[in-house]
Amino acid sequence: MIRWINQLTQNGKFHPMWIVLAVTGVLLVGGIVLVPALYEGAKEPRQNVVTATTKSVAAANLPEPDSGQHDLPKDPQSVPTAHFKPPSESDMPAGEFGDMVKLGRNIFVHTQIYAKGLVGNGLNCVNCHLDAGRKADSAPLWAAYVMFPAYRSKNHKVNSFEDRLAGCFRFSMNGTAPEYNSKEMIALTSYSYWLAKGAPTGVELPGRGFPKLENPPLPPDVQRGAAVFKANCAICHGTGGLGTKVNGQYAFPPLWGKDSYNAGAGMHSVKNAAAFIKANMPLGKGNSLSLQEAWDVAQFVDSHDRPPDPRAK
């Protein structure tokens, strides 16, 4: 071997420097491949359409964007058994604080109008946080409010409640987060604080987020999901899933496409979408779909194109 190298060196056809260059080249190529791969692994993975249609992925192996709720500690002794009830709409306070609470509610229900410059799609908070952010099992505001500040693995830091709201605007609303201490932030915080009146701080209340969902018997399937969608969802969300507009505003929200939540949103996680859908959809008929149907239709919804995750830019 060494004689062969010596022969090549003498002929001028081989130089030891080539070894150095070759090793450097391999390291460079490896670096170019591995560094982005590591970055890709760290950020929230998206469901691959091709994967979904050509082979069903075992539900247990699906990578899920983390909503951060798993990080929060549960205190088994202090979780109350009855559902927390927020104050009645008719009991909204008066005065300047009351006005701020009302503004928060207006932003929440008519986001397109009251947060006009901040939204990037056609949604309103109330589309998923039902009953103006009051409904248990539909990510109610009163349950979220008392769980912040909290560490979230989504952005690897301790988040204030305003940080959490900023995420809603950036991802679910595909828009721009309001400035901290802006009127919009104070209004939404006031509304959430008022809804949470009497709720114990730092306690994970029943009804928070969406009810935990088991894995389905079969891996979630886009084709089965399409059939579930046609039979249960299209009547409101349209056969094309792009929602229904009345007088220029979405009466029923789009579930994908440019006017829907982007790929960084919690709802883009099939697990989250399935849990939301199982407990709340069709509207007024929550818990009517089977476990399998909820997972299948969530897989179908989240397999479509939507605006990209802003963190990927």
Binding site: L130, I235, A251, G284, K285
Partner: protein
């Protein structure tokens, strides 16, 4: 006069468009004739639904004027197919062809929709409860607001969700009770059955009263 090739094309196109326009106009016109005179096989619509499609409040015959066209066609089709049963509407719908159903639906959909009354009676505790159900729902029971599906002011959302604002209260109350008992079964996906099952008798009275003149 020098008629160029272009002018002849324009004349033909204009005639075609005018022809099309007059054809669609004929749908509503044919519908108006059916509404006024019937088809010879059944009563005329106006006899029960009023000269202007306003319905008959006391008898519970619904307002049709300004109603969602596709919804009207579906109801007539369902009456004929016995998917929705009513002793009066069954024979009447059975006598209509599909074209006649579309014509009469066109006619009624094109009539002026309901507008809020200017000097309506002041709201009562009952209509306040009705307003709450219409605008917020009753989520303690898992019931969405009526207006979430029926439109922000109850004007309906085409093609599936009919207008309910300005509908007469006897008719609304009857429908809600019929969904509860199963006397009416043609609601898509059982959506109205799910809603009706969450309404108490007082709620039905409240929401029907409110919807007759919602604000």
């Amino acid at each position: 006069m020098n008629f160029s090739h272009h002018t002849s094309v324009e004349i033909i196109l204009t005639l075609l468009v005018a022809g099309q326009a007059s054809l669609s106009h004929a749908d509503a016109q044919a519908g108006a004739a059916i509404a006024k005179n019937g088809t010879g096989a059944g009563s005329a619509c106006m006899q029960c639904h009023g000269a202007n499609g306003e319905g008959q409040a006391a008898a519970g015959f619904p307002r049709l004027a300004g109603q969602n066209r596709d919804y009207l066609v579906k109801q007539l089709t369902d009456f004929k197919a016995k998917l929705r049963t009513n002793p009066l509407m069954g024979p009447i719908a059975s006598a209509l062809s599909t074209t006649q159903m579309k014509d009469v639906a066109d006619y009624y959909a094109g009539l002026p929709a309901w507008k809020p009354e200017l000097n309506a009676a002041p709201s009562t505790a009952q209509t306040a409860r009705g307003a709450q159900l219409a605008h917020q729902g009753n989520w303690d029971e898992g019931m969405p607001a009526c207006f979430t599906c029926h439109g922000e002011s109850g004007a309906g959302i085409a093609p599936h969700f009919p207008s309910i604002a300005g509908q007469n209260s006897v008719y609304i109350a009857n429908q809600l009770k019929n969904w509860q008992t199963g006397a009416r079964l043609n609601d898509p996906q059982g959506l109205m059955k799910a809603v009706a099952d969450k309404l108490s008798a007082e709620d039905i009275s409240a929401v029907s009263a409110y919807l007759e003149n919602p604000k």
